[in-house]
């Protein structure tokens, strides 16, 4: 390989600032998208296991649509196609006047996509608790809402902490897709450093390290959460 190495470029002004700013946008997209994904995904997961066939069908349709279309395609659909289907002035608002049009679109698209995956995790958690618990709850006179609130969900969430951690790590990494619609997050910033300095290999190494540091931190935190919330004598025993 014929290349002039220059690691110092990463610490030089303004490139270090760019990496930090990019990390900020990456965290913003991931956390905001996770809020959508977790809340919507939990609701859908409950619907998916509810006794009402209408709710079940609704949640199943959602999962089938959002989980089976590649995220990148969804991102483009939301960014380029969706605004064109709206009435004229709404379309203009979405494309121009909405705060941070590209960022907002990315958060919504990634959030809705991940919601379908969170839904499946929640469903499998609830199913893992078993039908016996549900029947026992109903037998002592609890309503279905109470069964979910006091029996199924507290157990299910504990069981699915490890896979939910994976989903969060995935959302964090998938936030880099936002650069395809013009959000200047961490990956886009490292590309920009490459464009200005042509030191692409150094810039991408920096991105790799920053992504790894964040994911390792999340994993360490979630392991503690898993351990602290574990209930003796149940499925969840903390990540061994």
């Amino acid at each position: 390989m014929n290349y002039n190495w220059d690691w110092g470029v990463l610490l030089r002004d303004p490139y270090l600032g760019w990496i930090i700013e990019g990390l900020g946008w990456t965290l913003a997209i991931s956390l905001l998208a996770w809020i959508i994904a977790f809340s919507l995904g939990s609701a859908l997961g409950v619907f998916r296991t509810a006794s009402s066939p209408v709710l079940r069908a609704l949640a199943t349709t959602y999962v089938e649509i959002f989980r089976n279309i590649p995220l990148l395609v969804q991102l483009f659909l939301w960014y380029f196609v969706f605004p064109e289907l709206l009435p004229e002035d709404w379309s203009r608002w979405v494309k121009r006047d909405m705060p941070f049009p590209a960022l907002t679109t990315a958060v919504v698209a990634i959030g809705l996509y991940t919601a379908s995956r969170v839904c499946e995790q929640v469903r499998s958690g609830i199913e893992a608790v078993g039908p016996g618990q549900r029947q026992a709850g109903r037998a002592i006179g609890m309503t279905e809402v109470q069964v979910y609130r006091y029996i199924l969900l507290p157990n299910a969430y504990r069981i699915i902490i490890p896979p939910l951690t994976s989903e969060f790590l995935t959302i964090f990494k998938q936030s880099s897709l936002a650069l395809t619609i013009g959000v200047v997050e961490l990956t886009a910033m490292t590309r920009q450093i490459e464009e200005y300095t042509f030191q692409g290999f150094e810039a991408f190494t920096a991105a790799t390290i920053v992504y790894s540091l964040v994911t390792f931190t999340v994993m360490a935190i979630m392991r503690q959460v898993d351990r602290r919330t574990a209930l003796p004598g149940t499925f969840s025993k903390g990540a061994a």
């Binding site: 390989m1 014929n2 650069l179 200047v184 590309r191 490459e194 464009e195 300095t197 692409g200």
Partner: protein
């Protein structure tokens, strides 16, 4: 013992020095050695740099730069002994072209790349094949002619291009209130302009004419303003490979000397398959004459 070891080492060095090089025709050129080893020339091409390097009607890369590269492929075949080489097309973008040349994934980049001095730290360029500069394209009736008319408006710029830097610098220098939307490539930038996501798209004027010529309604767009940068295009090759670079230079000088360069130019620009219609400018004609070095 020590002396014998030294003699042995000396003998070994001599033997290596005297051994015939593994690739007699490729000489000391890593690029030529690589090509000979694989029997393939890897050409990096763009997908929407009209009419330099883009996907043509048969889903194959075509264009002015591609034609020039194929001339160089002929020269490589001759240099390596006349055997037919396979051409492998690798799509590149504004961001990937330089790393892919540096790491040897592509042997030569045939797109619309500006030759500038910073990039020369990582790659080497063949003679200038086209001269252009940054301008802006907007919808007719938008009231935009110069960058200065865009206060409070939005401009789209392709990441990794010299245009991006030139326009950002111009905006900063004049402290203009213009929002920049980065886009991935020219087609996405054009889509953003067509769907009113941006008010203008900044790029090399020739590429803007190319994009307009392929737009659904070419009369609805125009290219305006002064040149915001000077962009001489050239084919890109790996650094520190003067043998391969010279082969490229010899080919290009030959084309310029024989006038074949002007013919290839006419094929793509006067008016060319996309009706771009840009006759050979005096500046470029002079550039061809100056670069037509004698044998």
């Amino acid at each position: 013992m020590n002396l014998r070891l030294k003699m042995l080492a000396a003998a070994a060095v001599t033997a290596v020095g005297l051994a015939p090089p593994a690739f007699a025709d490729a000489g000391d050129s890593p690029t030529l050695q690589r090509i000979q080893e694989r029997g393939t020339v890897s050409i990096g091409h763009r997908e929407t740099s009209i009419p330099f390097s883009y996907i043509g009607e048969n889903n194959e890369p075509v264009g002015y730069s591609i034609d020039l590269c194929l001339k160089i492929v002929e020269a490589i075949e001759e240099q390596l002994g006349g055997g037919k080489l396979e051409v492998r097309y690798v799509p590149v973008t504004g961001q990937t072209r330089i790393p892919l040349i540096a790491n040897g994934t592509i042997d030569i980049e045939c797109g619309s790349t500006t030759n500038n001095l910073t990039r020369q730290l990582q790659v080497e360029y063949l003679p200038t094949t086209f001269i252009t500069g940054t301008k802006i394209a907007s919808k007719v009736g938008s009231g935009i002619t110069e960058l200065e008319d865009m206060s409070g408006k939005i401009i789209g710029l392709a990441s990794g291009t010299t245009n991006e830097k030139a326009i950002k610098a111009a905006i900063e220098a004049k402290d203009l209130d213009i929002k920049i939307v980065p886009v991935k490539d020219h087609s996405q930038g054009w889509l953003a302009l067509e769907t009113d996501r941006i008010d203008a798209y900044g790029s090399d004027d020739v590429l803007l004419y190319g994009l307009i010529s392929k737009a659904s309604d070419p009369s609805a767009y125009h290219v305006t303003g002064r040149y915001l940068s000077f962009d001489p295009y050239a084919l890109m090759v790996q650094r520190n490979d003067s043998t391969f670079e010279r082969l490229g230079r010899v080919t290009m000088a030959g084309l310029m000397r024989s006038g074949e360069m002007a013919e290839i130019y006419a094929k793509w620009f006067e008016p060319g398959p996309t009706n771009i219609n840009m006759p050979l400018s005096d500046t470029l004609r002079t550039a061809f004459e100056i670069q037509a070095l004698p044998e």
